[in-house]
């Protein structure tokens, strides 16, 4: 997944930039970047449970904010580490997201733990068109 962590814009926390050729790819990359802060080696997550997510927002950028917040919510409430199987974004008056996520419960014996993501922040949060694709930038409070 195309994302990289940005050392210089978050002294006490973690910042990343995630890119995609489509909006959907950028959303998925941002989700994976968030997951990879919580644990190392996200590719080792087995797809044992699946979750459907449906979100709506008038603002596309805030839709991404809501989407990343869902991952943080499932991490605490269901102890689930989730990867994106499928994500679709449509405009029906508002921006509407439907996603299929799957993964498994956190197991410190299996998943080398990273930092507990407290929140997705709006500090320098952006979702911008870049060339033919999209670039998302976010700072996570850890």
């Amino acid at each position: 997944m195309p994302y990289r962590y940005l050392g210089e814009i978050a002294t006490a926390d973690v910042a990343f930039e995630a890119t995609g050729n489509s909006l959907e790819e950028a959303f998925a990359a941002a989700a994976e970047a968030t997951l990879n802060v919580m644990i190392e080696e996200p590719e080792r997550i087995e797809r044992r449970e699946s979750i459907d997510v449906e979100l709506e927002n008038d603002d596309l950028e805030m839709l991404l904010f809501d989407f990343l917040n869902e991952l943080v919510y499932y991490k605490d409430s269901k102890k689930l580490l989730l990867r994106v199987d499928e994500v679709k974004i449509e405009v029906e008056g508002r921006f509407r997201l439907r996603a299929k996520l799957s993964g498994e419960m956190i197991d410190p014996m299996k998943h080398p733990l990273g930092a507990d993501v407290k929140a997705v922040t709006l500090h320098r949060f952006s979702l911008l068109r870049s060339g033919d694709g999209w670039t998302a930038t976010a700072v996570l409070d850890i």
Binding site: Y5, L6, G7, E8, A10, T11, A12, D13, V14, M38, I39, E40, M62, D66, N69, V72, Y73, K75, D76, S77, K79, M105, I106, P108, P112, L113, G114, A115, D116, K118, A119, V120, T121, L122, H123, F125, V139, D141, I142
Partner: protein
């Protein structure tokens, strides 16, 4: 780092950015720091503290403490007081980790008694006090029971036998923000936090075994009043907050304020993280009531961790926690907004004081501090990095200048990313052990990120607070054991 050219030196430790620095500033901004610390401050501090100065209803100044660094909305180390009638409340002035705070307890043990058992102690603390991503506490609470916890705070723990009566007395706000209303917290917030009472978290949260060496006692009388009476006495300090529950409360209201702030209340802010609502609006009052729930969750969380720590010491030393003198010194909050009475133009005035990564430091005689500390002033617990040391300070009269507020820690100067590139967790653990500090961490990366060199000098920060008249040193504590999430 370059400081803004408009920065005026008011005294050796007070710096000001005037109203003209940025359009929309309603008051000047004041930063407390020594020359060295002000030169080291990141540019974000100057930008953010002056954004705060633009918020409606702000009184006197927007302040930043000597350990300031950039945060979300307010800088970390930020403090601002608002007129409750005309001012706002902002989650960005409180932080995502509502009532993240510090608790300090003494023991009647000395270094000679603890040193031979140190590894056992740290290892058992590491296994008993849950930390890291996904950890849950030992309490099995229903979501309804959790709603009692967040309305009652430490009082709930006392009722259930997890606290001593004096623990409550020695906690800021007596361990409970009055007026917490759990119906103002979302289902999601409750789901994120109901099984996390008694967990440390990760990041910069830790539990540390420390020693008060005789040469590090600066004020013997106050040290004794705070419970430090023996040479090389052992203490335990820990830092954590309201966990997923508090983080979700902050996120929920950040989103809800963004929707109403401009259309309904006509408030424009310079940074979305400063989303706010008039304090007296429905949204403002709902957030205040939910924030209090999160603050109470943090008090209960620290109380349950204290219960676990007492259990560990008792098991290792085969003596009761009472016999081991495991008494609380105090529990301070870092990230809150509170209604407090202060004096402005010689008149007692009620203010809504936001402190974000800043500690309340009430002076001797003030209401709101425990009876036994009426002569000494409120204890202030300042956590340093795991390699260097921490401080116990006391509030002073001259703190009135900053609404009785002081620093909260040492403040980072190096990013986590850079620290991880420069240090390896495993070799850092080894080096620290050679220097007499035994540390256990859930992750090597997390350990490397907390290396001492990633932080400002705690001695410099504390000295700045003393020179600025915000608080006075009582003693310095040196780490010997640490567990990290």
């Amino acid at each position: 780092m370059a400081t803004p050219s408009a920065l005026k030196r008011i005294s050796d430790t007070v710096w000001e950015l005037p109203r003209g620095y940025k359009e929309g500033m309603l008051v000047p901004a004041r930063i407390f720091a020594t020359e060295k610390l002000i030169r080291e401050m990141d540019a974000g501090v100057f930008d953010q503290v002056t954004n705060v100065a633009c918020l409606p209803g702000i009184v006197n100044y927007a302040y930043c403490m000597p350990d300031g660094h950039w945060g979300y909305g307010f800088p970390i180390g930020g403090m601002a007081a608002f007129d409750p009638a005309t001012g706002v409340i902002s989650p960005g002035g409180i932080g995502f980790d509502i009532n993240c705070g510090m608790r300090l307890i003494t023991t009647s043990l000395t270094l000679d008694e603890v040193r031979p058992r140190l590894k056992e102690l740290v290892d058992m603390l590491f296994y008993r006090v849950p930390s890291g991503v996904g950890s849950t506490g030992f309490l099995r609470l229903s979501q309804d029971e959790f709603r009692d916890v967040i309305e009652e705070g430490s009082g709930w723990c006392l009722k259930k036998g997890f606290a001593w009566p004096e623990d409550i007395e020695l906690t800021e706000e007596r361990g409970c923000f009055e007026g917490a209303d759990s119906s103002k917290a979302s289902r999601k917030a409750v789901e994120r936090g109901f099984d996390q009472v008694g967990t440390l978290g990760s990041g910069n949260h830790y539990c540390e075994i420390q020693v008060a060496r005789p040469e590090n006692v600066f004020d013997r009388e106050k040290a004794e009043a705070f419970g430090f009476t023996l040479p090389n006495q052992i203490a335990v300090m820990f830092h954590c907050g309201s966990r997923g529950f508090g983080h979700q409360v902050a996120t929920d209201y950040l989103q809800s304020f963004l929707k109403v702030m401009e259309p309904k209340y006509g408030i424009k802010v310079r940074d979305r993280e400063l989303a706010c609502a008039p304090f007296h609006s429905k949204e403002g009052q709902d957030y205040f009531a939910a924030m209090k729930c999160a603050a109470n969750m943090a008090f209960a969380n620290r109380q349950m961790i204290l219960y676990l720590i007492r259990g560990v010491f008792s098991e290792i030393f085969r003596r009761s926690p009472e016999d081991l003198g495991m008494n609380m010194v105090y529990d301070v909050t870092h990230n809150t907004a509170k209604l407090e009475d202060h004096t402005i133009d010689k008149k007692k005035t009620r203010l809504l004081v936001h402190r974000k990564g800043a500690t309340r430091a009430f002076a001797p005689g003030m209401e709101g501090i425990p009876e036994r500390y009426k002569k000494t002033g409120q204890p202030v617990i300042i956590g340093g990095s795991m390699e260097t040391g921490s401080y116990l300070l006391a509030g002073v009269e001259s703190g009135a200048e900053a609404f009785y507020t002081t620093a909260h820690g040492s403040g980072r100067t190096m990013s986590r990313h850079q620290a991880k590139r420069m240090y390896r967790g495993s070799s850092l653990q080894h080096d620290m052990e050679e220097r007499g500090i035994y540390v256990r961490s859930v992750t090597w990366g997390g350990l490397a990120e907390e290396a001492g060199a990633a932080y400002k000098s705690i001695d410099e920060v504390v000295e700045a607070t003393e020179l600025a008249g915000l608080s006075r040193r009582v003693l310095r504590l040196t780490p010997i054991g640490n567990i990290k999430g």
